[in-house]
Amino acid sequence: SQKIEQNSEALNIQEGKTATLTCNYTNYSPAYLQWYRQDPGRGPVFLLLIRENEKEKRKERLKVTFDTTLKQSLFHITASQPADSATYLCALQGGYSTLTFGKGTMLLVSP
């Protein structure tokens, strides 16, 4: 069956460093992958979408890569700030317009 894995342990980094979060998947060949941010007590907020024919996508301090051979996406936040602290979810194309979400990785950026 389809499986999406994100690091369950929180990632702790210092302000100004680059945070790198990983999303691995198996038994899956998604046409696209999305990343979301979720703050405590709030719904997820869409950040970036990358298609299977795109290797890399950037938006301001965010960068996403998508390696369909390795079945992996990496999500980078450069020059991280305490305000970047949140849980980050990756989501893969499911069936009709649906998404299958990973369980998320918590990022903690300390000043």
Binding site: R42, G43, P44, R51, A91, Q93, S97, T98, F101, K103
Partner: protein
């Protein structure tokens, strides 16, 4: 900006009650979704709808039903609430764009934290 509004942030109900969770979106999106989110289990799709009066089961539909009488409104119904339905419920919507293979972001409400006692 898309706004997805869920009727209650917190709700407490008793076992056996019929519970209605309401969701309204203001951007004329065709797709609407209901998820539940539990610690350690992540977001799981309960039901979705791609048009008025249309509904499709997600991964965990048992014990739930849905209603979509108007395009902007999608209701989740717990027919007879049980304690294992205590959870955070999230509603989302997305646009259908021809030729994109369902390739659109989902916009979420802020959730309803439901406790069944």
């Amino acid at each position: 900006d898309v706004k997805v509004t869920q009727s209650s942030r917190y709700l407490v109900k008793r076992t056996g009650e019929k519970v209605f969770l309401e969701c309204v979106q203001d951007m004329d999106h065709e797709n609407m979704f209901w998820y539940r989110q539990d610690p350690g289990l992540g977001l799981r799709l309960i039901y979705f709808s791609y048009d008025v009066k249309m509904k499709e089961k997600g991964d965990i539909p048992e014990g739930y039903s849905v209603s979509r009488e108007k395009k902007e409104r999608f209701s989740l119904i717990l027919e007879s609430a049980s304690t294992n339905q205590t959870s955070m419920y999230l509603c989302a919507s997305s646009l259908i764009v021809a030729g994109t293979r369902g390739n659109q972001p989902q916009h979420f409400g802020d959730g309803t934290r439901l406790s069944i006692l």
